[in-house]
Amino acid sequence: MSALSRTARIATKTGLHAVPTALGIVMLSFVLLQFAPGDAVDVLAGEAGSATAEGMAEMRARFGLDRPVIEQLWTYLSNLAHGNLGWSPRYNMPVSQLIWERVPDSLILAGSALVLALVIGIALGAVMAAYEGRAVDRIFSVLSLVFYSVPGFWIGLMLIVLFSIKLGWLPSGGAETIGSSATGLAALLDKLRYMVLPVISLALLYVAVYSRLTRVSMIEAKAQDFVRTARAKGLSEGRILLRHVLRNALIPVTTVAGMHVGGMLGGSVVIETIYGWPGLGRLAYEAVMGRDFGVLLGILLFSSLLVIFANALVDIVHGLLDPRVGGRDAAV
């Protein structure tokens, strides 16, 4: 069974999977949003402070907000089938453009946090499992439990107090120096300075999750027969831990990490708010507050497709980590 055909099959399965999920999300959101008091025109009129009833009715007609719900849903779905996410009355631009503008910053934040959390979490978990029951294990276990219990927004604020206000090392918010004309390496370094604190705030919880999961999985794997076999073959303890035990433990960790991709985008609302990071989470929040539901739906769709894509990626990684996964699928 070649890795290529396995990948192709996963891609097909993912594609088939994405359509009903997307449909379900659109319909669920439409039903939910019908209960929300007020619409985008109400909010805009409230902000402008000088709207006439005729003007508001005209705006509603222009954006189709005066149509029956079923008709709105149908219009949305048929637009979606043509790859059109609609128009945002609030920002007065196409929803897809609005989302694409935020995607890079969002992905940079969530991606860096995920990678950082995986690296540190797996390393911590491996150390804890190697020293199971000893002082190192106990100290790290308590530490990871503390990471697990800290509210992300609070640690974000405390990091600002320490590193921005007291020490003055890092900026307290924003995504890059405004008006900076730096290019190349200087621009990258500038960006990194702004990323450090939000990435740490977002990653902390996941460091805890991955380290604990790695620890448990490795301790489980150590008791398996193949480890005994490896030891009987005379492999060194370090090699057994890395090549056999850790490799097995990576399967649950990657599964869970795949599930976190969507949560990281949506869950970063609070972190993005604290650091003024121009990401999708913040845009989703503003969309809810402004009753700009087309934007919200677009973000929900985008993030759920990302989750489905990440799960497919995890499936492929599993095939690489454990040959049995591929073999089993081939038999199905």
């Binding site: 999920t21 609070w154 999750v209 448990v216 301790i219 949560g263 869950g267």
Partner: protein, 329 residues
């Protein structure tokens, strides 16, 4: 007993023979992220009674006692807040911007309007714990019901409900939370319901996996052959056996609900008529530069409470996890 292994439900079709860790799935922590929870590794393998195991867990892991003490302290403070700090904690009682320790009348200082921080934290304890417990109760009710039905009946019912669970888990939770709170007027009740709406899928998944395993066991077959109806088998035969991992999950759910409530209140989406730890941090944020204690203190209270609940959850996992009763595998 079959190993308690909800992890297998994650990818059950792909890799049954791959060793799976037992991580009871919980919706935890960072507002709105579904996080399968990795408990401490099961330690004792010997067959012992629950009472003995409680003692041995307490002896081996004294931190649990710290957790119980913190939680008891917070509960008492929360319950007695109206007596200890009578009057509205949102009322102005003194000079603003008093640092902790600067004035004996306000040991933890005052905020930008001159409201007592200690009184706020005490009253906030009550709100946090109430929302945490109410949200968990509602979430358990929805999650266990749906998981039980999906796991017990299987087939089409399971396919439809599993897809529903999947859709809810795919949606970014905190965004969903904001949507639900924006629809309903924020109050303690609506906050609890909103949190339950985003946390039930985790429990449902766990309950589904448990019910799927247990329904194949002999005593369930026996009950079925005696002519018991599905409702009776689900409630009085399977549910008791499925409870241990659900109880472990519940303590973590309270912790995550407290974190979600604090994040919502921090964003200004909490109940505006009560003082909560999150709203205290939110209103102190503007003065971070000069008076960071306004944010630090309530956040510390959140961290302690959530840590206590997670410590207790870890211990519960060691005590209740049925796998601990098995001999070496």
């Amino acid at each position: 007993m079959p190993p308690y292994n909800p992890g297998a439900a994650l990818r059950d079709s792909a890799q049954e023979s791959v060793p799976q860790p037992d991580f009871s799935e919980v919706v935890v922590a960072l507002p709105g992220v579904v996080v399968p929870y990795a408990p401490m590794a099961p330690a004792p393998r010997a067959r012992r009674g629950v009472g003995r195991r409680i003692l041995s867990v307490g002896a081996r892991n004294p931190l649990v006692l710290v957790g119980v003490a913190i939680l008891a302290f917070m509960s008492i403070i929360g319950l007695l807040a109206p007596l200890l700090f009578p009057g509205d904690p949102l009322a102005i009682v003194g000079e603003p911007f008093l640092w902790p320790g600067a004035d004996g009348a306000h040991p933890l200082g005052t905020d930008s309007l001159g409201r007592d921080l200690l009184a706020g934290i005490a009253h906030g304890a009550s709100i946090s714990l109430r929302v945490g417990i109410a949200a968990t109760a509602i979430g358990l009710l929805i999650g266990v019901s749906i998981g039980a039905i999906a796991g017990y009946f299987g087939g089409w019912t399971d396919a439809v409900l599993s897809r529903l669970i999947e859709i809810f888990q795919t949606l970014p939770n905190f965004v969903m939370l904001v949507v639900v709170v924006a629809i309903a007027q924020p109050s303690i009740v609506t906050l609890s319901v909103a949190i339950a709406i985003v946390t039930w899928p985790g429990v449902a998944r766990l309950a589904r996996a448990e019910f799927r395993t247990i329904r194949e066991r002999d005593f369930v077959m026996a009950a079925r052959s005696l002519g018991f109806g599905p409702a009776r088998i689900i409630l009085s035969e399977i549910l008791p056996s499925a409870l241990p991992p659900i109880i472990v999950t519940a303590s973590m759910m309270v912790a995550s609900a407290i974190l979600m409530e604090s994040a919502l209140s921090f964003m200004g989406l909490g109940d505006p008529n009560v003082v909560s730890w999150g709203s205290m941090i939110g209103s102190g944020r503007e003065y971070l530069r000069t008076a960071w204690y306004m944010c630090a203190l309530p956040g510390f209270a959140i961290m302690l409470t959530v840590l206590a609940l997670n410590l207790i959850g870890d211990a519960l996992n060691e005590i209740l996890n049925p796998r601990n009763n098995e001999g070496p595998r």
